[in-house]
């Protein structure tokens, strides 16, 4: 799908899609980063890199529907001294070009920025083949990669700037639908590798990123009416994970729920569990896509059907509290 838009509803005011915020940020960063080049694979009108391409046609290359080549070409440009950025649907840039990301980018530690758009089931009707739901796990398995999953438009803008300022490979995951705002440009603080505490709490911590930050906040609100005090962390950087925030969450709240729009295996939940098990084991529950592909449907219907809802986050919170007390 090229131009059409869709949105994810919530009580929070609707903002732009994270892919749109990324696209605008990239376009404006073109000026301060004179060596920035962008390599597209026939999806620039979906990933929004075309906005950079329209402004800087000499620094924009469309190699056709050929993601492996796209990444290889970007690696060559980076090795020649450029900052290069590649973008396609998360499913294609990560899965189709994985060996090239591994061998031509991660291994030589080249300064290539990889942006996977249309991540998750929230793309809707196009269905499983276009839904990147394993991208975070795969990106985390590339040695040296920083992996970032912003929640809304302001954080996508900030993440794009932080990604450019970082020296080395980065994977940035953005989504297709318009999403509710979590931050405002005035109040946002964004530092790679540092979780944002959106709400303080003492009974448990909900750790979320991307599309699930909104539902995490909604769940915390609902739980407050039951007398449950919830800390909410936006763990926008999955790698390197904020171990200090995990330590504090485990020690101070003693129970954790992890919510993400990703397969169970390899995503934020896996990374949190691996670290918490080492720092201070506490009960953890997960809200994610489990071990299954997505399918066609409207974004709203899929989010409901696959359980990526505030209600499900709240039930996971009640379950983890019961485990903590047991």
């Amino acid at each position: 799908m090229a131009g059409a838009s869709s949105s994810v509803k919530s009580s929070r005011p609707l903002g732009k899609a994270t892919r749109d915020a990324f696209g605008r940020a990239l376009e404006s960063l073109g000026e301060s980063y004179g060596s920035l080049v962008v390599v597209d694979a026939d999806v620039g009108n979906s990933t929004r890199t075309e906005w950079f391409g329209l402004k800087y046609p000499d620094r924009f290359f469309n190699v056709g529907i050929a993601e492996s080549n796209q990444v290889g070409v970007a690696a060559g440009l980076a090795a020649a001294g450029h900052i290069s950025l590649v973008s396609s649907f998360a499913a294609f840039i990560i899965c189709n070009a994985y060996d090239q990301l591994r061998m031509s980018v991660a291994y030589p530690k080249l300064n290539v920025k990889v942006v996977g758009s249309h991540a998750g089931i929230s793309i809707g009707e196009d269905g499983a083949s276009q839904m990147g739901i394993e991208d975070v796990g795969l990106a985390c398995s590339l040695p040296g990669f920083v992996v970032v999953v912003p929640a809304d438009e302001a954080s996508a803008r900030a993440a794009t700037a932080a990604m450019m300022a970082h020296q080395g490979p980065v994977y940035l995951r953005v989504g297709r639908p318009d999403v509710p705002k979590v931050y405002s440009d005035e109040t946002i603080k964004f530092e790679l590798g540092k979780a944002n505490t959106l709400q303080e709490g003492t009974d448990l911590t909900i750790i979320a990123n991307g599309l699930m930050v909104g539902p995490a906040l909604d769940a915390a609100e609902a739980l407050a009416t039951e007398g449950i005090s919830v800390r909410v962390l936006d763990m926008h950087t999955v790698k390197p994970i904020d171990r200090d925030a995990l330590k504090a969450a485990a020690e101070e709240t003693g129970a954790i729920v992890v919510a993400e729009e990703h397969l169970a295996h390899g995503g934020l939940g896996s990374v949190v569990a691996m670290n918490v098990a080492e720092i201070k084991p506490v009960p953890i529950r997960y809200v994610n896509l489990g071990d299954q592909f997505g399918e066609s449907g409207s974004p709203e219907a899929l989010i409901e059907a696959y359980g990526l809802t505030a209600a499900n986050v709240a039930s996971a919170a009640r379950a983890v509290l019961a485990a903590k007390k047991a």
């Binding site: 090229a2 026939d42 979906s46 469309n62 056709g64 529907i65 050929a66 269905g127 276009q130 449907g297």
Partner: protein, 279 residues
């Protein structure tokens, strides 16, 4: 084979109307990518080429059609509905949660789908696998694969082309839907793969270049491919993206119309253009 051409023209019109109606109802999808491919799909399913029985879609000896450019799924679903694989009204469930008719073909969900596609570039390799299996089974099964022209940018296409050439798979036919556009613009600008026939020929394929929106030319080309021995077949099918609604696309100032349904308010006009036929 003996199907009168008028009958095929009538079926082609029905498929086009189905494509338009189902994608407009779904509110998303790729009607223009589907419509360029209608004559080829019509010839395969209704012109006597594809030995496929909707009552026995898993017959191991069947011929197979792989839609490698999976985003054109509506043309395949429309053909399978007219074959009687499922009720015609089910077409209107396209892309809805729970429907077997997903945005891109899912072989687990629906008989008659020979490969789950949607990530471009993968169908021809599966076709090579089917063709090798048919050779091992000695069952005479034919495999047809349709790719897009933009899709030819994928390296895997050429890996498949080389392996089919190596094994001389004359039971394999690749039809390239050369409709001249891909997602971000003209296929001649984005990544021009001309000469497409020359590239396949250099991998040991027998090639033809035809007007793929001319029903008779499509039938003739498939006939020649069927009698060809010793080499895989490539048919470069020169088509127009959105063939059947070109006037309306011109009026809406979009000659690619990639990945968007006809807005509901133009649906009747689009259907009327299909009915009137291309002059």
């Amino acid at each position: 084979m003996s199907v009168p051409i008028d009958q095929l023209h009538a079926i082609a019109k029905e498929l086009r109307k189905d494509i338009l109606r189902m994608t407009t109802e779904a509110g998303s999808g790729h009607p223009s990518s589907s419509m360029s491919a209608v004559e080829v799909v019509t010839a395969l399913y209704f012109g006597g080429f594809l030995n496929f029985d909707a009552k026995n879609p898993k017959d191991p000896n069947r011929d197979r059609f792989i839609l490698s450019k999976g985003h054109a799924a509506p043309v395949l679903y429309a053909a399978l509905a007219h074959k009687g694989l499922f009720p015609h009204e089910e077409l209107m469930t396209l892309r809805k949660l729970g429907s077997r008719l997903e945005g891109h073909p899912n072989m687990l969900r629906l008989g008659g789908i020979e490969a789950s596609t949607g990530s471009l570039g993968q169908g021809l390799s599966m076709g090579v696998g089917y063709a090798l299996a048919a050779r091992l089974a000695k069952n005479g099964s034919q495999t047809y694969v349709m790719t897009g022209d933009g899709e030819l940018g994928q390296g895997q296409i050429w890996e498949a082309a080389a392996s089919a050439g190596k094994y001389g798979l004359d039971n394999l036919t690749c039809i390239v839907d050369r409709n001249g556009f891909q997602q971000t613009g003209s296929s001649f600008d984005v990544l021009n793969m001309d000469p497409i026939d020359g590239k396949f020929a250099s991998f040991g394929w027998s090639t033809q270049v035809i007007n793929g929106n001319d029903q008779q030319e499509v039938l003739d080309a498939l006939n020649r491919a069927r009698s060809n021995k010793g080499r895989p077949n490539c048919i470069v099918s020169l088509t127009k993206k959105g063939y059947g609604m070109l006037n309306l696309m011109a009026k809406l100032k979009d000659e690619n119309f990639h990945g968007k349904p006809m807005p509901a308010k133009y649906l009747d006009e689009a259907i009327a253009e299909v009915e009137a036929g291309v002059a």
